[in-house]
C-alpha cells in the first residue's frame, strides 16, 4: 500500500476521534458494489453486507501482541464481524483485529 494510495484514502476518509481499546480496530465499510484495487468482488451471497473496508482507527494491541493493520489499510473481514457504531452520522464497525482476514 503506497503512500500515494494512503493519501487518496485519506481524502475520502473521515477523521474519526475515537481511541479503540486493546486489539480493537474501527473500520469504515466500503459499499458492496465498490471494487477494490485488487479487483475483489464480494460474492453474490454476501452482497447485502460489505466485507471490505478501510481502517480508520487502531487500538494499542494486547499485551505482547502489537497490531498488524494500520490506519488507511483496506481490509477484508468476516461478514458478521464487529459492532456497528455511528460517528458524525456515518456508520463504522468496531471489531477485533483477529476478525480481519487480510489486507488487500
Amino acid at each position: 500500500m503506497s503512500a500515494a494510495v494512503e493519501t487518496k484514502n485519506s481524502k475520502n476518509m473521515t477523521q474519526v476521534n475515537i481511541k479503540p481499546l486493546a486489539d480493537r480496530v474501527v473500520v469504515e465499510p466500503l459499499p458492496a458494489e465498490e471494487k477494490t484495487k485488487a479487483g475483489i468482488i464480494i460474492p453474490d451471497t454476501a452482497k447485502e453486507k460489505p466485507q471490505e473496508g478501510v481502517v480508520v482507527a487502531v487500538g494499542p494491541g494486547k499485551k505482547d501482541e502489537p497490531m498488524t493493520v494500520k490506519v488507511g489499510d483496506r481490509v477484508l473481514y468476516g461478514k458478521y464481524a464487529g459492532t456497528e457504531i455511528q460517528i458524525d452520522g456515518k456508520e463504522y464497525l468496531i471489531m477485533r483485529e483477529s476478525d480481519i482476514y487480510a489486507i488487500v
Copy 2:
C-alpha cells in the same frame, strides 16, 4: 481528552464511593439522545439502551494487566455489557474493562 474536558465532566459527575475489584469499571451511562463531542449517535436499533457513558470508578486491574481507561473518560461499551447498580439513587453500570470498545 483535555484537562478542561475532564473538569467539565467532573462538574456533572457524581462523586461515587465505590472501589471496583480487579478489572472492573463503573460507568455512568449517557442518555441515548445525547451527542458526544465526537458526534457519535447511537444507531436506531440501539436507542432504548445507551451504549455510551462516562467512567466514574476504575479497579486496580488484573495481575500484570494495568487498566487503560481512567475516571472521566467517555467510553463506548457493548449494549448488554455490565450489571446495573444504583448509587445515591442514580443508575450506573459495573462492567469489565474488556466490555469497553473505545474511548471517544
Copy 3:
C-alpha cells in the same frame, strides 16, 4: 472504610468459625432494604435477593493471586453468586472473590 466503621461492623458481625479454601469468601448478606453508607439501593428488579453484604471470612487466595477483600468489607456481588450455607442458624453465602464486583 475507616477503623470506626469496621468496629461498628464487628459489633453486628457474628464471629464465624470457617476457613474458606483458595479464593473463596464468606459473605453475610445485608437485607435488601438496608442502605449502605454510599447510599446504594438495590434496583427494584433485584429486591427479592440482596446483592450487598459484609465479608466475614476470606480464603488464602489462589497461587500467586493474593486476595483483595478483607473481613469487614461491604461488598457488591452478583445476584446469583455463591452458595447458601448456615452457620449458627444464620444464613451466609460462600462465593469466589471473582463474584464480587466492588467494595462500597
Copy 4:
C-alpha cells in the same frame, strides 16, 4: 482445628486404604442431622444429601499445587460434588479439592 479435635475425629474415623490421585480427596459424609462444632446446619432444601464431611484421604496434589486440606479436616463441599465409592461397606465420596468450599 486443634490436635485434640483431630484425635476425637480419629476415633470415629475408619482407616481407609486408598491413595487418591492428583488433587483428589476422599471424604466421609456426615449425616445431614449432625451439627458441626461450628454449628453449621445444612439448609432445608439440601437436607436429603449431606454437604459436610470429614477428609479421610488426600492425594499428592497437582503439579506445583500442594493440597490445603488434610486428613481429619471437617469440610463443606458442593451438593453434587464427587463420586460415591464404598470402602468396607461404608459410603465415601471422592472429589477434587476444588469441590471443597471451606474447612469448618
Copy 5:
C-alpha cells in the same frame, strides 16, 4: 502396594503387548462381584459395569507430567471412563490417567 502383592497380581495378569501413547493407561477391569483387598464394594447402582481394575500398561506421560500409576496397581476409575479394546480375546479399557480416581 508391596512387591508381594504385585507378584500375586502378575500371576493373574495377561502380559499385554501394547504401548499406550502420552498419558494413557490400559486397565484390566475386575468383575463387579470381586472384592478388593481394601474391601471396596462397587455400589449397587454401578454393578453392571466394573469401576475397579488392574493397570496392565502405562504410557510415557505427557510433556513435563510423569505418570503416577504403574503396572500392577489396582485402581478406581470413572464408570464411563475409557474405550474398550480386546487383546487376545480379553477385554481391556484404555483411558487417560486423569480418568483414574485412586489407587486402592
Copy 6:
C-alpha cells in the same frame, strides 16, 4: 515439491494482491475432478466441494509460530474450511493454516 513443479504451478496461478493476517492462507481450490500428481481422488461423498487447492498467499504466522506452507504448495484441507472470497472474479478460500491437513 521441486522448483520445476512450482514453476508449472506459477504458470496457472493468478498473481493475487492480498496479504493474509496472522496464520491465514489463501488457497485456490482445484476442481474436484482434477487429479493431483500424487493421484489423490476426492472420495465420492465429497465431490461437490473441492478439498484440494494451491496456496496463493500466506500470512506472517502467529507470534512464535512460523508458517509451514508456502505459495505454490498443493494442500489438502477440510471440506468446510475457510471463507470464500473473490479476487478478480476468481474464487478463493481464506483459511487458517491449522485447517490444512497436509501438503501433497
Copy 7:
C-alpha cells in the same frame, strides 16, 4: 517393533507422497477382520469400521512436542478419528496423533 517387522509392513505399504502438517498422521486402516500380531480383535460393536491401522506418514509435530509414532507403527485409534482421504485410489485416514491410543 523390530526392523524385520517394519520391513514386512513396508512390503504391503503403499509409498504415499503426502506431508502431513503439524501433529497429523496418515494411517492406512487394517480390515476389521485382520488380527494384529498382538492378537487384538476389534470388539463386535465396532466391526463395521476398523480401529487399527498402519502409520504411512507423520507430520513434524507441533512446537515443542515431537511426534511419538513413526511410519510403520501399527496403531489403535478412536472409532471416529480422522478424515478419510484417497491416495492412488486407496483409502487412508488423516488424524492428529492425539487421536491415536496406542502402538500395538
